[in-house]
Symmetry: C2
Subunit: 265 residues, 2 copies
DNA sequence: CAGTTGCTGATTGTTAGCAATCATCGACCA
DNA sequence: TGGTCGATGATTGCTAACAATCAGCAACTG
């Protein structure tokens, strides 16, 4: 496992490439384009790549993530890798034990319950603000994601695709809430929610209704500026998501029962 | 340089001292005593000391925190200081700008609003769980803090004392909620709440009623296992706290209007 | 033979030093 | 004389090497 040879070095260092030509850049676009590459520190980039790898299931649950091999495979030193692992720790993707190292986190049923109860708490606040603050453009963006869901669902959707569209919708909700700390909280919870979402069973018959219709109802409530309905709708939606993930997790737990690899917290 | 002999190092490293003799240590006590020193990494210890310094107002708002002077004054190298500053960043006490350094955060009126709206969201979830889960011992601990508030208030209380007792009460609430992620969220919000609490005006006539009686009502509602009342009570309590802090912040902003200078502590 | 004790290899925690980046300030030019 | 551009000093970002710590294993002892 874990074939060490990978051309990953380029992936980390292409951040310094010159920005591509723009035909007619506005002042704002130019500002964004020019500030993008430099805004990405090495540690952030590494954290991002490790996060992707973890979400893709490249590392097994409970597996130890040693700093030196990771640093070598990415062509950097241990410093930024260390910082990246600390970031992933606060995102709940890894568990760091003093003098022991970082391990891929295992999400138990209790973790699932914690993630979703906390998510309900902060996301209700988010939608409440969105109902009051959302612009038409933001509403259109939400609707666009729902449309993408419908299109993806029509041609058949994978767990991964469904999870990403789902998360993208909720990203927009938090963004429109205009609340920095709320966005940060979501940023810390999001990767765990992502992992959990991959356990849903998209093959279930009512999945289309849940995914597409469920989000559509939220958009409708927000568009109608009906705060109470929006909150109730998102509560129901998250409860439904929770139950589907729990069902999927039980299935998977049953399938891999007695696996019991090391590293469990 | 590492001259070896320097007294400042002791402050950080006296964790390795042999544990003092215990006359009749129980197994649990022994376990606690022996595991305590090693659980504290250097970066954590430094973050703690810097946090205390920031809360004590030792650094002025907007002042830059350079890594090398901090490291020298603490007798360590820049590495752990750097990690400590990142911790303080996620606690909202400092702002780190790439290639620019760390600066003491300034809390605006919008920050105040964000901290309190987020706090209401997560603390309502916390009390809801506490109502269902709290043991008699935890209820007694909450009551004990309220009693301490009454005693402190009777002999006259400073802003600092009031803030610490206030925070201690809410710490216990989160602890009793039995929700790891909720406790982490509170841990990230707590230092900002602490700073804001120092702006309350404890001299106001109704402060005793607010501090002592307000928390007593919460304990009562929890003891009666009345979930809805407990949530409503804590919502009111936090709203009251918000208004007092906002009033104090306005006062202070008025007094120091046009200050705006960075740097000088 | 069970339990404990002292080694050993590997991994993290920490340190010191080098390179890249940014703000500041002075020189140059229209 | 006002404004822009290029040097300069300071500070962060990163690297590589050193020291402390821990799990595992073998030898020892009762």
């Amino acid at each position: 496992m874990r074939a060490g040879r990978e051309p990953s070095r380029d992936g980390a260092l292409n951040l310094n490439d010159a920005p591509p030509r723009q035909s007619a850049p506005s002042a704002a676009d130019l500002q964004a384009v020019l500030s993008l590459p430099e805004n990405q520190a090495l540690a952030v980039s590494i954290a991002s790549r490790l996060r992707d790898a973890l979400l893709a299931g490249y590392f097994g649950p409970g597996e130890q993530l040693r700093e030196e091999p990771l640093a070598r495979s990415m062509g950097v030193s241990r410093g930024p890798v260390r910082e990246a692992l600390l970031r992933l720790e606060r995102e709940g993707l890894v568990v760091v034990r003093r003098n022991r190292g970082a391990f891929v986190a295992r999400l138990s049923a209790q973790d699932l319950e914690e993630v979703y109860t906390l998510r309900v708490a902060i996301e209700c606040l988010a939608v409440r603000r969105v109902v009051r603050l959302a612009t038409d453009a933001e509403l259109d963006a939400l609707q666009a994601v729902v449309d993408q869901m419908a299109a993806a669902d029509a041609r058949g959707v994978t767990e991964q695709e469904a999870a990403e569209l789902d998360l993208r919708f909720h990203d927009l909700v938090y963004l429109a809430s205009q609340h920095r700390r709320l966005n940060e909280s979501w940023g810390n919870l999001r990767p765990q929610a992502h992992i959990l979402l991959l356990n849903r069973n998209v093959a279930r018959e009512d999945f289309r209704e849940f995914l597409v219709q469920g989000h559509q109802w939220i958009v409708d409530a927000v568009r109608d500026r009906d705060e109470d309905r929006a909150v109730a709708t998102i509560e129901d939606h998250l409860r439904g998501s929770y139950e589907r993930v729990a069902a999927g997790l039980d299935l998977r737990a049953g399938r891999t029962a007695g696996e019991g690899a090391d590293g469990g917290r």
